[in-house]
Symmetry: C5
Subunit: 306 residues, 5 copies
């Protein structure tokens, strides 16, 4: 049964087709957080992005694509997101067991220097034939390739919506116009979230922002309007607001692997700020399975009680 | 009922289909200026172009996409223009309440330096499924990317006209061939308006021009023919003339936020010169709602009595 | 009735469809030169190429797109050529009154330096829906973009011929491989005409050539074979020969605005050399209408009696 | 009859269509290794990649494309892989005698320096009309062109799977971000294999890896996790693991021509590590036919008994 | 009647459709060499490649496109090859009189320096509507644009074969990786012929090779294997071998215009080496017609008696 809260969230997407709404509902109504309007997603694209040893050697069970399906199912995640190969390797075997998000672009780190460039590695029709609920796409606002990526996303988004899928956008600011600190600056993260919303994303994923303000023009406004950004909760709230006053599903990534206490403290801040959830890759699948499930449950509990 | 004046304006677009004419009529026959042949449009693309805080922190109601639909409806604007995300967030809820213009390209300001580059962020089919009356598109005549943008606009224009939509073109000269002052020079603005007309636009939006003349070849002609450009009204009249002797709908943008008196004086000049109306973004939605409506009404009154 | 001479000309295009032949016949059988096999065309693309004031301030009636339709009709031209906006602004009102040529690419002169780059500004389907007899396209042989333009022209030509339209090609040599004088050198103009013919053009327009020879390899041949190029008539005859031994319709442009006597002398030379006609823009529409018609009639008379 | 082992392997590709599974089965159930789950493939693309004399002068029978069909058939290979021209020259004559893999991209070595750039030289529809079981495609992870190649492969892979073909990917790391030794470093080869798997390849071909570790971030992990890479068997096992824990068919190339003892020793290492087979070009067709068949049989025997 | 030799040649193209085989047969069974398996083709693309005066002033009859049809027919050539404009100008008038080859790409020599860049100037559908037997395409192996050209050829080849046409490829090595002598070096010419074969060409045209060896890696093989390349006949034989052991139709170009004795001596060498024929442009159409026919007959006689 679709809960009242899920129905409320679906009402924000009133221009979407019944098919797309049903797929959003599938993700919101699955797993331990089903019906709460919160989401925890397991993403596993590190094999492509960082290579297999860096991703899976620590917990070698992860070399097997079935492991991640099982981890997401056993932990009660709302969805599992991965590139074509990993999704193909379990989509039939685990058909119906967990909503799937097919990541349609990915970058590798064998090429030298330069700006991040995501290559298209899957299609909307791949997502359909594999029974996915959504497509995933990464944009790098601020990079030299951003214009091209927006254009690609425009085409994929139109096709996905036409075919009844939902659209999840990873929005990671980068590029020569931004300092390293600027990539997670509060003004930049809020801007990146807004861009993803304006491009028509249903679910937006950004990194937890810092209190740094990168752009001079933005700094003036933050100061003049006294926008509170001292705590992580305040910053999360600001990014939620940037996502159409909270009328788009905003989730946060976990970033580099770290200690459990540190993770949960961060989650508490995000949850307090009104985040809809988290997407946790390395912090999940690089731990032994029982530890990973325990951590994911703790994270879900924080969101459930927020 | 379509007024005589609106019928006259429609007669200028005699090569267009009934569908496109009906959508032009929808915009001309809506709101406080309905039937007068004048137009005031609310555009809200600053979230994408400048980021959310710079756009909405001053009047935080604007973070919510529904606010702008309501503002445009309550103020009696002829139409509301925005990128995909903002239009999707209200198109169903406010269906039939206000003609919509889907902006199909947008640029962000996270990338460093360089010329302005608009990315495609929506499609003609998006405009159709969202019930829009028109598509919007920005060109930057004089920029290195202009050729590519004209080509994109050509394809979108043909598709839009074939599918019965109207075409609104923002024409903002820029690029290394122009000085900063040149971007609003009278010869350049008139040229930019002419280009948009020749590309098949139904409605053209340019910035209010200054008395500066940028191009040496043009200067000779302005001087020899003694084209009057001393007052804003004269300059507006010249740009109206550049738009097929007034047989295309030419409207002006408001530019950076400023004081009310200053705005109204500018509007008076434009209206005296025969402008068909204005498109006012930041000057509207960054003010408190009642103030914004008051200002928009004042602007409409000036056009109504011109 | 199609005259014997027009039937002869049509016989040169024996590989074309009946539809394309009919459209060639429409142009050859219209106006004061109807049936003579000669053509005088009114082209008005200067609004896009040079801006509105430089184009129309001298004779402000020309700001109105209807003026040019009327001028072409009243002067008895064979056809009127213009970009999308200008054609759309009169195609319905003047339907059937004059054959139309839709120029499918155009360049503007707001961008700094560089080689000339034509942007696509209309489609073959635009030409069909507007009732045009032909498409027009400009190539710049010798420029860095030429390869790309030939490819574009190939696609447009195939589509136009498939859909029963004729193809008019403006062939203007330019680019870093040519000196300024080289752009109108006899060898280069003849070469540019040949390229347009080989690309499948039905009507080719070039500039009147000078006696200068640009390419060293060509110079040897002109000298060895003693090709006569001293007079304009001889040079025109050479370019006519380069157009498949006169079996393609070759017309000349008028270039910059100048005095009437000078124009008529040039026309006499071209007509003596066997040119099929002229295409006269600025020299026509920048004069008062009666003067322009008088001039066009004089030009037509020269061709008629050649 | 499909053996139990082949059925097991097919079960790893559960998301694929019956058509694609049947073509994988065709390759696995053909030749001397039929039913064992092991594969030895004859590839002949050196004529394109190195030129005819360097490829065939040593054993001139190889100039004739029929020779390679016969060699692959007589030696009992699982499949024969070549570019369009070579496949066309025997596909009808040897129809049904050996599964064919049409290589869809190839590079030549006449151009100077630069990164390797594969040109598309065949289509999926070519593979269908020639009765092939699979398409082949080479990627160069780490090269500047990799993003573009992944995109090409995405499109070809989707089409091939839709049309019931299998996909074989040659994954050869190269590019300015890698040292010469890095191209065969264990971390890089494992990463390249993972990328091919994630891109949806059914069969992956890489070069035998060395014990060198190229990437600093990877080195830390190999040392921390004490991944055994001292022997070729250990390294092969690691790459097998990188291919979805052995659930994708991984085969190794033979590289430059060398002595038989040396080859067989290498094969033994690869087989001990769990490799599914080898793809042997120059070491096969540059030897006299009987010697080549003897060598291929020895190689097959090693895999059969592994 | 198709002769036994022609049937044998057709058997080499066993993977091709009946339509393509019929068009190969049309060329092999036409003219003075009909049925012998040898071919002499008249190509006239110099108007585009070198300009009209350099091409036709010496024998001005050649300005008329009909002249070349007549020359090819009267001399008994197997086929006539030219760009779109020249073919269109005679395809209907001479329908059925001579097999036609539509050259689909051409380059002009007005642009400065740089590598040769062929522009697409015709389509496969143009070839069909003009009743051609084959398409022609030029590649420049070794040039920076080669990858792009192979891709274009791949698409055109697939379409041509699907539509029952034959494919003739001009393969001219060039580019910064080759010395001027290298362009006709024996190793490079043999390599260029092999590339065209592997790309699926039915008929391959290269320049007569010299005894120079360009590539160091190739040189080692030519010396080790003692490949005989001292005489033109030996070199022609080597290139024939490089064309799939003689199972593809290889013809040679004549190059720059020269004396008759010199030409015939070269032809004798090529014929002795097993070449299938020649393609002679400037040496034919720049001579007076009777001389040209005499020369072509002499050339045909040499091939007929080889």
């Amino acid at each position: 049964m679709t809960t009242k809260r899920v129905k409320e969230i679906l009402s924000w997407y009133s221009a979407d087709s019944a098919g797309t709404k049903a797929n959003l509902a599938r993700m919101l109504s699955h797993g331990r957080l089903a019906g709460t309007g919160k989401m925890v997603i397991l993403p596993v694209d590190q094999g492509f992005e960082h290579g297999p040893a860096r991703s899976f050697a620590q917990n070698p069970a992860g070399y097997d694509p079935r492991y991640h399906f099982e981890l997401a199912i056993d932990a009660g995640c709302n969805a599992y997101a991965a590139p074509l190969g990993f999704i193909e390797a379990g989509a039939a075997e685990f058909a119906g067991d967990i909503p799937l998000i097919l990541k349609l672009n990915n970058s590798e780190t064998l090429a030298k220097g330069g700006e991040p460039i995501s290559a298209l590695t899957g299609t909307v029709d791949d997502a359909l034939r594999l029974g996915c609920a959504a497509i995933g796409f990464t944009i790098y606002p601020g990079s030299g390739e951003a214009k091209h990526a927006y254009h690609e996303l425009r085409d994929l988004t139109e096709e996905a919506k036409r075919k009844g899928l939902a659209v999840v956008v990873w929005s990671y600011p980068r590029g020569s116009g931004l300092s390293k600190d600027g990539e997670t600056a509060i003004d930049v993260v809020a801007y990146a979230a807004q861009i993803a919303c304006q491009l028509g994303a249903h679910v937006i994923k950004v990194k937890p922002p810092t209190a740094h303000i990168e752009q001079a023009e933005a700094k003036k406004v933050y100061e003049k309007e006294k926008i509170p950004i001292a705590t992580l909760a305040q910053r999360a709230r600001h990014v939620v607001q940037a996502c159409f006053a909270g009328r788009r599903i905003l989730i946060f990534s976990g970033g580099v692997a770290k200690g459990k206490a540190e993770i949960l403290e961060e989650i508490r801040g995000l949850a307090d700020g009104g985040a809809f959830g988290s997407i946790m890759g390395r912090n999940s699948f690089q731990r032994p399975k029982t530890e990973a499930i325990e951590l994911l449950h703790d994270v879900m509990d924080i969101y459930a009680s927020a």
